[in-house]
Symmetry: C2
């Protein structure tokens, strides 16, 4: 065996997993492998880089909340800058209530409520779109309320990647980039030399990976391969319970006075900047990027957007022009006549079943995925869960001391909770 464990995928989740294994047991021989020339260059680097501590499911909420505490710990106590901006997460809703929030959230101050008057004043937003012919064609509804998650914002994924990678290496972890894993090596536990092994009567295990150049052996293999997971898991008959889907992100500059005012909206947070903001259906989101005076804008499309694996997905200009723009302009006339100055596309790994993360071990492989769009913000805790599975633990202590039962996000003893698509 060349290593104790190979972690495939150097996105934030693979990095976090590899880091936690080395942290727990520094003598463990860990190899982190990725097809890209550097870590964090896949879909991690294409994300909206946001975090929030409240989800519909308890599992996502716990994993996110503890992960965010870890982010702050790294930045404030470890003095490793992660570029965190605690700008909040503002849901603008067409109803007086939101299924996402409970009364306790508001009572405890975890969620701040904004009335129509506040929103109009703070955002110069057009709340009342109903009655407008075009808005009706778009199916848009008036905005009734704003709910802002306080423990939320954005951070720099590249800095988070640097943190994980540097610590992992300092602990003695090995990395191998520019190396695509072509397949998992499945062998019978007792090889006999017959053709076509493993046979149905043999116990088989994954004992490493095959790259284009070589075979690398390890006692266990962890897949943090996100959207690419099916290409490795399916050939040996293991399921991932997820499929890949394109996600797109469009960048608009705050060129005009009105857009600058929107970008630097006051009254929401100490940073005095627009929170991560989500409009009512079709749930277009936008965030301000203070460092570059831009808005990042996107929308997760459901029906009509196929499941498909693409190594280099392309953003679609028409998706902005015909999909996002007309809706965005109705609520925020400030964006009229503005065009994206940059755009990119990545891929989600979508678990359409319950929208919650998945982590389980079978035949020497540990598969872990955050599923959907919360990879970054739950990566510290989810990586720790994967590390716990690797060490054969049933419970794991998340950052801050809360315990988590790893089988809750497994397959056979899964605690079923449904996440809302937002």
């Amino acid at each position: 065996m060349d290593y104790d464990v190979i972690v495939v995928g150097a996105g934030v989740l693979g990095l976090s997993t590899a880091y936690h294994i080395k942290l727990e047991k520094p003598d463990e021989r860990v190899l982190l492998i990725d097809k890209k020339p550097a870590p964090g260059q896949g879909n991690s680097g294409k994300s909206a880089e946001c975090f929030r501590n409240i989800f519909y499911s308890e599992i996502n909420t716990l994993l996110a909340d503890t992960s965010i505490d870890f982010f702050f710990h790294v930045q404030n106590e470890k003095k490793f800058d992660l570029g965190i901006r605690k700008v909040g997460y503002l849901f603008l809703t067409a109803e007086e209530k939101s299924r996402l929030f409970k009364r306790e959230h508001i009572e405890k101050g975890e969620v701040k409520v904004y009335e129509r008057e506040d929103l109009r004043k703070l955002l110069k937003i057009n709340l009342d779109v109903e009655g407008d012919r075009e808005a009706e064609m778009l199916g848009l509804r008036n905005i009734q309320k704003g709910f802002q998650i306080v423990k939320a914002g954005y951070l720099s994924v590249s800095k988070l990647v640097d943190f994980y990678e540097s610590r992992f290496k300092r602990l003695g972890g090995k990395t191998l980039y520019r190396t695509r894993v072509k397949k998992l090596i499945l062998k019978p536990k007792e090889e006999l030399g017959f053709p076509c092994e493993p046979h149905i009567w043999q116990d088989a295990e994954v004992i490493g990976v095959e790259t284009g150049r070589e075979k690398i052996y390890a006692k266990k293999t962890i897949l943090a391969t996100g959207a690419w997971s099916n290409t490795l898991m399916h050939p040996i008959g293991l399921e991932t319970y997820m499929n890949p889907k394109k996600r797109q992100l469009f960048v608009l500059e705050a060129k005009t006075k009105e857009l600058k005012e929107l970008l630097y909206s006051k009254g929401f947070n100490d940073e005095e900047i627009l929170p991560f903001t989500i409009l009512p259906q079709p749930l277009i989101w936008m965030r301000a990027t203070m460092e570059e005076d831009t808005f990042w804008i996107g929308c997760a499309d459901e029906i009509g957007r196929g499941f498909k694996l693409e190594d280099d997905p392309k953003p679609e200009k028409y998706f902005y022009i015909y999909g996002i723009r007309p809706v965005l302009e109705k609520y925020f006339p400030q964006f009229k006549d503005q065009k994206p100055v940059n755009m990119w596309a990545g891929q989600y790994a979508v678990n359409s079943y319950d929208g919650c993360p998945i982590a389980y071990e079978e035949n020497g492989v540990i598969f872990v995925t955050s599923a959907t769009d919360r990879g970054i913000q739950i990566s510290p805790s989810l990586g720790k869960v994967a590390s716990a599975i690797y060490f054969g633990e049933e419970q794991v202590e998340l950052f801050g001391g809360k315990m988590f039962r790893v089988s809750d996000i497994g397959v056979k003893k899964r605690k079923i909770e449904y996440e809302l698509v937002l």
Copy 2:
């Protein structure tokens, strides 16, 4: 609209669904479409043709039990011969107990128990394999008990297909064979003529199918496409919760006196023929085919058998020679030196999550699949469930009067039960 509903897939499940829709509402314009030149030519026609009324999950048990009642009703009351042979389903276990059976099954006579002495006498089986070097290499264990499900056996799938198709046509149903559905037609409910519709702000629905030759429109489309389902569902962003996997079946002739005796084993059923028999791990099964004096033999392989869609999967001689044969011969020396005279391969649609059927509607498509290897034996009831979903019913009366809540096998309100892989 050309039709009220298009049912894609003329396997037993699609046939049953189409039949139940016409039966419920004879005026409904129903088109059954399939890529093959005739119905039942896909994986239905490659199955082991068996049925049993007891499963681990209540859902599979109910769907199978009521379906079997329907089979008997068709054959006995409707006088349409389905070639049913009620030979039973014999599990040979390495333990004194089986997770599959409850005490009530035995008390009620639904399951007959066979002791080692009975088995040895009736089957001339080698129960004690432990201690043998080769058997230990194969990981085989001694057989302790036999449990025979009484309401079980085999039937003729081609006759079942004939029954469904003839009744469906007699009720006015239309069929279209030799026609491969290339894609589902997804349209916004209100089409505006913009490029790239549907957009994120549009409600979209499947309004029919595109074949190589034409577009066919219908209010609803039902997919009973089994292993092929991902090719139609994934491009529009809908999940099937299953993946295709090859299954193989090998035919051996009862050439010798010993094999004839095994084939015509007495003491199990009124037919005086070997029941459908399952050996302990790795769960090789065999059935007698009285009509042709052959055994059909197979084994569902798990790890190492990849998920992969194949239009024309090939059986693998080595799978029999190195996989099945050594195990089979240890328990049944009668098969020594025998070779398959025929073999074929089909594809399972495997729901690895819970092993239960799936039926749900979204955006004008109703997707239905039995998942794994019980398509035939639950097709009457599952087709009725699909028909109920089509008619917008929440409950459905299965054959014999039992009610079933259709959402139990849906996605979002699914009643989670895990089926045993057997």
